[in-house]
Symmetry: C2
Subunit: 332 residues, 2 copies
């Protein structure tokens, strides 16, 4: 287990999305966070104290978490003074990047010298099976998106928290590095070897009591050329009973894919349901989650009303207005 | 590069499908094969000379290729006397199994002792990029299946050979271990890390001359719960201009998935085209390839006629009747 409290490194993040790992931890585990540390040129802010590594240690921080991602997932040379400084101040390091802390000789040497630990949460820790496609007891809900990074994890976390408060049995199932850092376990799906992707999700969401819900963190998008295969493996491994359509109101072009427009929510619904019903004919789309964080209060309310009318589905921004109507729709 | 001629090890294969790697090499590179070697209890035969390793070496064999697969892809202890014997006779070993030659201490020791090489073709050899989804010049044709192992590779190889004989520019692009052993290079897609699947296929099928066709080996099936994610990554990485629907006439249940029926060719066509057109709006389904190897001559002809009528598409068994009409439809 990774020791907390955390200090969140947001580096030279050029926009809000680049620091989404740090933001997720701060939003869902504020009790585990002492502050943030950025580099010159950083274009975002978590709204918490900016602390040096020394000050963070004084506030009790035990692990510096790399909360920033760049395309390709490498550990930038410009980050290293802070990372090595954190080790020298006595903190462990945790990272969800593709390129590993354990593969950086200077970081490994500093960790050994200082007696600190390196946690690469993106490294799969289990030997996953090949999926067998068999139906199993318990229920599973999955978020699917019009694009990557549209709020699928937030939606599942918000619904899970609401379900816990109502006494409904549920478990948040993390499939990405932020989710794993928040939940403490999960499957780093985008780092799993292709043949075992769906099997890793069957392993993560095993048979359960009939009225128990696994709230499964979505990954990628069926419409995103870079990551669609990961998404389909997740759908077929999870055998969802319920899908939540997720969308970011400010997104008009697919992230990282020049020239690609987003699908409509209707297109997403049709394709995702077609794929899900291959493994669970009873699967249904039960609601829409819109990330309206870039919209004014008035525009957000208008958009949610419009989408609800267009799709005929319960629609909300669970982070802004709470996930109640989605939970109502889920437990029907 | 793997040295040839090959000697093909079919071990204790319990049926024809278990020796499909060996059969593929023998069918498509007969000029590179000196013979086969089996173990007691083997239930299949390639129809070529059964030779000891010593005799194979006398006939010029330079590499023993493991041409048999078991579920799980491990190297059976019962195979080792032959494998180590081949090394001691001076041959290299090549394998496409999930479990690696390089992870078997006794095989590694024998290879070192004998100065021979071990080729695990399932190990990715390149650092693949994340897919960027950009359109590129040249044309690409991909086989998609109603199930796994229905003849997608054979279809592409047969079309490629016919195109070469007509002087049409084309390249066979291997995405699995048999294809890689046949072609000498390729991407072992099911062993690629999830995030890089689609990117590995963009890397394999780069921009080319406008009238050049990449004939891309299919993998898995969009309808197969264990491997569907691999298939979708392949479709989105290849950006196919043309799809060939592939089906095995004797298959009624999804291979390895109890309780799953096969989709119809119409269902396959709709889903595969929907996914392909996300990255290439001009993609079309141009024909149907039926593996009729288990049918009588009369039943095969009847089925091909019926499927052609039902789908309205050029339909054949390219291995039985030749791929001419599929090539005609492709270049039409």
């Amino acid at each position: 287990m990774i020791k907390y409290p955390y200090h969140l490194f947001i580096g030279d993040a050029q926009d809000k999305a680049a620091a989404k790992v740090a933001r997720g931890i701060k939003d869902w585990r504020p009790d585990r966070v002492v502050g943030q540390i950025s580099l010159p040129g950083c274009q975002t802010d978590l709204g918490i104290d900016e602390l040096t590594v020394e000050d963070a240690v004084k506030h009790g921080a035990r692990t510096l978490v790399i909360g920033v991602a760049n395309r390709g997932g490498f550990i930038a040379e410009s980050w290293k003074p802070v990372l090595i400084g954190a080790l020298e101040a006595g903190m462990d390091l945790a990272s969800g990047l593709h390129n590993l802390l354990q593969d950086e000789p200077d970081i490994v040497a500093a960790a050994e010298r200082c007696g600190c630990q390196l946690h690469d949460v993106r490294v799969p820790r289990a030997e996953y099976p090949i999926a067998n496609g068999q139906r199993r007891s318990g229920k599973r809900c999955l978020g699917v998106g019009t694009d990557v990074s549209v709020g699928k994890m937030y939606t599942m976390l918000a619904m899970h928290r609401e379900m816990a408060s109502r006494g409904i049995q549920s478990t948040f199932r993390a499939t990405g590095q932020t989710g794993i850092l928040i939940e403490g376990n999960g499957v780093p799906l985008d780092a799993v070897v292709a043949d075992f992707m769906a099997g890793s999700i069957e392993w993560l969401t095993p048979a359960n009591e009939n009225d128990h819900w696994d709230m499964v963190e979505g990954q990628g998008s069926l419409f995103h050329a870079s990551y669609s295969g990961v998404t389909l493996a997740l759908i077929h491994g999870a055998q969802p009973d319920a899908l939540i359509l997720c969308h970011d109101a400010s997104r008009h072009r697919m992230r990282g894919l020049s020239g690609y427009r987003l699908p409509t929510l209707t297109q997403l619904s049709e394709v995702a349901l077609t794929m899900a019903q291959m493994v669970n004919p009873d699967c249904r789309v039960i609601g829409v989650s819109i990330n309206t964080s870039e919209l004014s209060e008035r525009d957000a309310a208008k958009m949610i009303e419009d989408v609800g009318k267009d799709t005929g589905l319960p629609t909300t921004d669970p982070f802004r207005y709470g996930p109640d109507i989605l939970v109502d729709a889920l437990i029907g």
